[in-house]
């Protein structure tokens, strides 16, 4: 019997197979898609840490796909959107009431309730084929073989067609959702959300490999391991979040994929959660600021209904309609704020990848005015403010400026570390 739970991202209550129960802190992250260069360093950092063993070959807990051409597994988002559209034709819409938006369509949980006649499902989803899992990034940027000759390399590859336009790289990991689809679907209750940090884990002893979670996760971030016959998923590098890495002396440290990021697009942290599931006001937590105050970062496909805890600053140049479907109705406001950032936002953006430790609070010390200018038609003043980040113990872990000094390593030291 489904319960009613509140999902702030869709602005209303929705039905979910379990009653509300919330963690004390929630693992969350904010990726700036304007900066991702698709280098896949994050992907390899994860792979070489957690999924390098036999039976894990097709597993990429972190992946970066070129939108709109690619997806891992192939077409995952198009397929979920299509299933929802078929379940609720023409009605997957957002409504605006004043400043607030409400999603009036059906989430993956609500759409499943309607599916009479089929084997009962708690969550609307599908099981990707082996082929869809097998080739992350295949043909996303370039063609390598000709039609009718799949999985081959054409010697004339450079003459094959290429994209006429390029959208953006979408970096993805498990969203450690507030209302996880994977957890809802598991018939053995083998999936749980941790009280201390909201990380969603699969109990490897309880799991029997039914793959209900694989079908139910709309983001397709649970993967089946054929050698052990059980399912596995991103564990949010929990030993690092617990502070078990000797480098930080007990303080939480960001995950492998975050700290490896070349493009400095990633900021990961923990946000404080109230007993009722709402975010506790924490004005100077960088994630709270970016997501709840500045509202420049948005959830990925909020209409799915899992309340994902991964947030994105959308890429500025991509057609708005595509982005609105992907990030919801907060899009235009977020993009305007990012295009012409205000004084505080510019300073907070400096915190991206300046330290491996998790910053739970920041402080801005006002600096000198550097210049006045016009950014995209709006008057703008740049101040060289200093931003300081603190860890869970209140210790200063990073200090940087808006006008960061820039050093170039002399050629003779090129390859020395």
């Amino acid at each position: 019997m489904n319960q009613q739970v509140y999902n702030w991202q869709i602005g209303r209550k929705m039905s979910y197979p379990h009653a509300e129960a919330h963690p004390e802190w929630q693992f969350a992250f904010c990726f700036n898609l304007n900066r991702c260069i698709g280098c896949q360093t994050c992907t390899m950092a994860c792979k070489s840490t957690w999924t390098f063993s036999k039976g894990q070959e097709q597993m990429w807990w972190n992946n970066v796909e070129t939108k709109p051409y690619g997806g891992y597994p192939q077409f995952w988002d198009v397929k979920v959107l299509q299933l929802l559209e078929e379940a609720n034709p023409g009605a997957q819409k957002w409504a605006r009431k004043g400043e607030e938006f409400t999603f009036e369509g059906k989430t993956i949980f609500e759409a499943a309730e309607k599916r009479v006649g089929l084997e009962p499902e708690r969550v609307l989803g599908y099981l990707p084929t082996d082929e869809e899992w097998r080739f992350p990034n295949i043909y996303e940027d370039t063609a390598v073989s000709r039609k009718g000759k799949p999985m081959t390399f054409d010697p004339e590859g450079t003459k094959l067609p290429e994209h006429k336009t390029r959208f953006f790289y979408l970096a993805r990991i498990c969203n450690h959702c507030t209302y996880p689809g994977c957890l809802a679907a598991c018939p053995r209750n083998a999936i749980y959300k941790r009280h201390e940090d909201g990380i969603v884990l699969i109990d490897q002893e309880r799991c029997r490999g039914y793959r209900k979670c694989v079908a139910a996760c709309p983001y397709k971030k649970v993967m089946y391991r054929p050698t052990t016959h059980i399912s596995e998923k991103c564990i949010a590098c929990y030993p690092r979040i617990e502070g078990n890495d000797p480098a930080t002396k007990g303080m939480p440290i960001q995950t492998r994929c975050m700290t490896a990021c070349i493009g400095q697009i990633r900021l990961q942290g923990l946000v404080r959660i109230n007993k009722d599931g709402s975010w506790a006001e924490d004005r100077y937590n960088p994630l709270y600021y970016l997501i709840r105050v500045a509202k420049v970062a948005l959830p990925l496909y909020p209409q799915f209904g899992t309340e994902p805890n991964g947030y994105y600053i959308p890429p500025r140049w991509v057609p708005r309609g595509y982005l609105r479907q992907m990030f919801g109705p907060g899009l235009d406001e977020a993009l305007e704020k990012y295009r012409v950032p205000d004084r505080e936002l510019l300073a907070v953006l400096q915190l991206y990848q300046r330290t491996k430790e998790i910053i739970v609070r920041y402080e801005i010390k006002e600096g000198k005015k550097v210049y006045e200018t016009v950014i995209h038609g709006k008057p703008f003043t740049l101040y060289n403010d200093t931003i300081v980040g603190y860890n869970k113990e209140g210790k200063e872990i990073v200090r940087t400026q808006v006008e960061e000094p820039f050093y170039v390593r002399p050629d003779k030291h090129q390859n020395s570390i």
């Binding site: 081959t152 094959l160 006429k164 390029r166 057609p319 000198k368 950014i375």
Partner: protein, 95 residues
Amino acid sequence: MPKDEYDPEDPLEWVGVEVPVESDENLHEMALTFAEEFLRGGFSEDELLAMFKNPFYVGPHLVWRKKNEAYVRAVIEEAKGMWMPMRTMSGGEEE
């Protein structure tokens, strides 16, 4: 979505597909985003230009090939005009 819209057997799936919403405006905004982000990150004008010229940076290079050097230079100038007016100023001033 019609059933024949994508074909998993097709190795050229979505490759070379022109998205109907493609426009000069989007291309300009993409080029400008790269220029603004990298200028703010400390790149010089020459380094930026080299990035647009480099075929391994698919996004920026696409702009280079679709347009030309003059176009890319103009985009970089536009970004500089917004974010680097201090090039023509000296030091900071007290608030």
